[in-house]
């Protein structure tokens, strides 16, 4: 068949009244050819998912409705197709995989059955034939021991395996179009690399057209043939991957690409400040004990030794579940470590009871990952910022004055102090959280994935802010991330964690130049687009 598998022409999708703009998707046109991977990029809310869902006919009824244009799937207009026609096409001619492998699979149905369902709906095969086919497709997506996994429930699989099930389910009937909506965002770098490889491979083998949605330019660089850039519901630029990534035309595209941190750490002077934070053989074991419940024991951190000096940033990197947050929370004394020493300033806080932690509470502050949940939605941001100083006896007036200064410092208008968190964007909230931490005049600042939830462009700004306050107040910063690009930009030294153990520890430049530990190596290997030189345009 010649011609594009998917041809979207002048698609517009209206938003319900009271939204931030009139159309979620506004006059969008692009196409996907057989055997081609088209990446749609753009910041959060730009309409990527809505476009994808329009193709599948899965827009939430009564809320979003296509109002103009056509979506031609192999010459057939999806917007005009009846409900039953759409159902017949889904799974056979077009398939979709989603971002969250954890939630996209029905938790109470076995994996095999979920793949089988597609066959059951769309074919007349007997059970035995179907089962053979399911096992075959599971094998083709490299799932180990398909016969066993057939009867497994999704929760018994790892995230990567689940995403493979999703892919198997999408591809079992050889559709001509595969839509992947951020299929790897929730995965580890290493797993991400495998899945990307799998998608590319499957696509090549079967000649499927792929519409791949992402906001990660590394991923784009890794797999895209062509790129579509979206902003606020409109397509601002399309072109081949090479052209868009290396010679972006539209200012928005340029800005996005500029914000992608490079994997080459800048040169940094060696910090010689006073040793502010030191952990010795810090260990944390979750669970165990329990009278009525035999709790499972998890060694989340074992014998972690780290040191940070004033003015220095130590990064902890590692895959999900490696114990990064655990270390951070022990140091902030939100949880009590199982054993070991945590010296902050000249106080060992590891085992202190809450009452004696007051000095520590002032010195050591933390900024969390989720900007939407780290501010009390019911209190004005001003109240959140002055809370700490007031706890330590500062008068309300002085505290307020200080809060105004801090707002300016983090680049926000002091007048915004009596607004509520929901009136700010994610990046602004993260600034407020930093202001709240600074209000305590801390000497140690922990940032636990403080930028992971933010768009690339916003991420870059917050990273700059963090680095600036570190310099300005001579802070010892513990920076936790799973993103090597981010770590490269901000950390003086890096500790790599795996399964609760620090497997490698050293200067950022050295580690990035020559990783020693095999795990570290595999991490670097997996970083998408690592060999790609993004355009740097001012």
């Amino acid at each position: 068949m010649s011609g594009p598998v998917l041809d979207i022409r002048n698609l517009s999708v209206r938003l319900p009244k009271g939204g931030d703009r009139a159309h979620a998707v506004d006059n969008v046109s692009f196409s996907v050819n057989p055997g081609e991977i088209v990446c749609v990029v753009g910041e959060s809310g730009s309409g990527k998912s809505v476009t994808a869902h329009s193709v599948m006919g899965l827009l939430p009824k009564g809320q979003l409705a296509p109002v103009a244009g056509e979506i031609m799937l192999e010459g057939e207009d999806m917007l005009k197709a009846s409900g039953s026609r759409l159902r017949a096409l889904r799974g056979t001619r077009m398939s979709m995989i989603f971002q969250e492998p954890m939630t996209a699979l029905n938790p109470v149905v076995t994996c095999g059955e979920q793949i089988d369902e597609v066959l059951e709906i769309h074919t007349d095969l007997s059970f035995a034939e179907r089962k053979d086919k399911v096992l075959a497709v599971m094998d083709s997506v490299r799932l180990p021991d398909p016969a066993k996994l057939y009867d497994a429930y999704p929760h018994q699989l790892s995230g990567g395996q689940r995403q493979r099930i999703m892919i198997a389910q999408a591809l079992v009937l050889d559709p001509s179009l595969l839509i992947a909506d951020e299929p790897t965002t929730a995965l580890d770098v290493t797993t991400q690399a495998q899945i990307l490889k799998l998608i590319a491979e499957m696509q090549q083998r079967r000649g499927t057209g792929v519409l791949f949605i992402t906001h990660d330019f590394g991923v784009v660089a890794e797999i895209a043939h062509r790129v579509v850039v979206m902003q606020k519901g409109s397509v601002v630029e399309t072109g081949t991957a090479d052209a868009v990534l290396k010679r972006p035309e539209h200012p928005y595209t340029k800005m996005l690409i500029n914000a992608v941190p490079t994997l080459t750490p800048p040169k940094r002077e060696v910090k010689t400040g006073q040793l502010m934070l030191e952990t010795v053989k810090l260990s944390k074991v979750y669970g165990g004990g329990g009278f009525f419940r035999k709790a499972r024991e998890v060694r989340a951190a074992s014998e972690v030794d780290i040191q940070i000096r004033s003015g220095e940033t130590l990064g902890i990197v590692g895959e999900s579940g490696s114990g990064k947050s655990t270390v951070a929370r022990c140091i902030a004394r939100l949880i009590e470590p199982t054993s070991g020493t945590i010296r902050v300033g000249d106080l060992d806080v590891a085992m202190l009871p809450e009452r004696q932690l007051r000095p520590h509470r002032r010195i050591c502050q933390i900024v969390f990952q989720d900007p939407y949940r780290s501010l009390n939605p019911r209190r004005s941001v001003g109240a959140s910022i002055v809370e700490g100083p007031c706890n330590f006896g500062m008068s309300a007036e002085d505290a307020l004055k200080k809060a105004r200064d801090l707002m300016k410092l983090v680049g926000l208008s002091p007048d915004a102090l009596d607004r509520y968190p929901h009136q700010f964007s994610g990046g602004q909230r993260q600034r407020i959280c930093i202001a709240r931490a600074l209000a305590m005049e801390p000497e140690v600042l922990i940032a636990d994935e403080a930028v992971s939830a933010l768009d690339v462009s916003v991420q870059a700004q917050v990273l700059d802010l963090l680095d600036d306050v570190r310099r300005k107040f001579d802070l010892a910063v513990l920076f936790i991330t799973h993103d090597l690009r981010v770590a490269a930009q901000i950390c003086d030294r890096i500790a790599v964690m795996k399964n609760g153990i620090v497997v490698e520890h050293g200067k950022t430049t050295e580690i990035f130049a020559a990783p020693q530990h095999p795990y570290t190596k595999s991490l670097f290997e997996a970083a998408p687009g690592r060999n790609f030189q993004f355009a740097r345009v001012a």
Binding site: G18, I366, S374, S384, E387, L409, G411, L412, H422, E443
Partner: protein, 312 residues
């Protein structure tokens, strides 16, 4: 350590654009028909209760054996102590003692709503305190929850029956009796909210800035319980009015000379088929009120429960 006195921004950030402000809770409530209708009916009922002395046509407990079991809109006359006769119209007829059902129903609003509101208020307040303690202090949790499980395992009506038979029937006894089994439910609710909220990053943030336990509970945790408690409170209120009626039906509720919708109905049930007005009118008031309170609760939940909100 230098104080962060600098007033120049370190990095340029997007200047504050006031995000389109979310519709306030109040405005959302006003848009919800079930809240509006529910609240309106409840307010009318409360109003009726308040002005009962003005709109009732007779003392609700004044008996007149000569004019018993009159149908609605019947007239009766009776002799006063000074020998004069007085005629009155019974909008809703009379009961087996010749008491004016209309006046009883009107006054019944006072007592029934009072019971509902009091039970709701106190079970919520007591449950809130216990639930916060159990949720926040892990060591207290085990003990408190075992006791609550025990209370909860006793079916509410049985406990009420047993408690009412404890001392003589009266409004207070009934209130306590209905309240006790409700408390564990509130405790569970509050505890679950506390348990989930205390894991919220903003609570941890408050801990790291050194907020002591009590202000932490009040400032950061308590407000999260208000919405679910408001909802739970309305349901408790509705069920209290109902349970009171059921206790009256079983003959162990509030003494009959204090009119409540429940015991007007309970007394009238013997003559239900001949004189249905004894059940009909208080029944309508009762069902309407409970319905309204339930609607209010549902509406509140739809607007206040963030889980519901997500669904759009």
């Amino acid at each position: 350590m230098t104080a962060p006195a600098a007033s120049t921004p370190l990095t340029t950030a997007a200047v504050d654009i006031p995000a389109p402000s979310k519709p306030t809770v109040w405005r959302k409530l006003k848009r919800n028909p079930s809240v509006i209708v529910g609240a309106a009916i409840v307010l009318v009922m409360i109003f009726i209760g308040l002005i009962a002395p003005l709109i009732a046509t007779n003392d609700p407990s004044a008996i007149n054996p000569a004019a018993r079991n009159r149908l609605p809109m019947a007239e009766s006359s009776y002799r006063l102590d000074d020998g004069t006769r007085k005629t009155m119209l019974h909008y809703m007829g009379t009961d087996t003692l010749g008491r004016d059902v209309y006046s009883r129903v009107i006054y019944g609003a006072q007592v029934s709503i009072f019971i509902g509101v009091t039970v709701a208020f106190f079970s919520v307040v007591i449950g809130l305190i216990i639930g916060m303690l159990a949720g926040y202090f892990r060591w207290l949790d085990g003990i408190i929850m075992r006791i609550m499980d025990g209370l909860m395992a006793i079916p509410a009506i049985l406990l009420a029956i047993a408690l009412v038979s404890l001392s003589r029937a009266g409004v207070l006894t009934v209130i306590v009796a209905i309240m006790v089994p409700e408390i564990p439910r509130v405790v569970r609710l509050v505890r679950s909210v506390v348990l989930s909220v205390r894991e919220e990053p903003y609570v941890e943030a408050a801990i790291t800035v050194g907020t002591p336990t009590l202000p932490l509970l009040i400032r950061h945790i308590l407000p999260n319980t208000i919405a679910p408690l408001l909802v739970q409170g309305t349901f408790i209120c509705a069920s209290a009015i109902l349970v009171e009626a059921i206790l009256s039906f079983l003959g162990i509720g509030i003494p009959p000379e204090i009119p409540t919708w429940g015991n007007i109905m309970a007394e009238g049930r013997q003559v239900f088929r001949l004189f249905p007005h004894n059940i009909l009118y208080p029944g309508i008031f009762l069902a309407l009120t409970v319905l309204a309170v339930n609607m209010l609760g549902d509406g509140l939940r739809d607007t206040l429960d963030p889980k519901m909100e997500k669904r759009g």
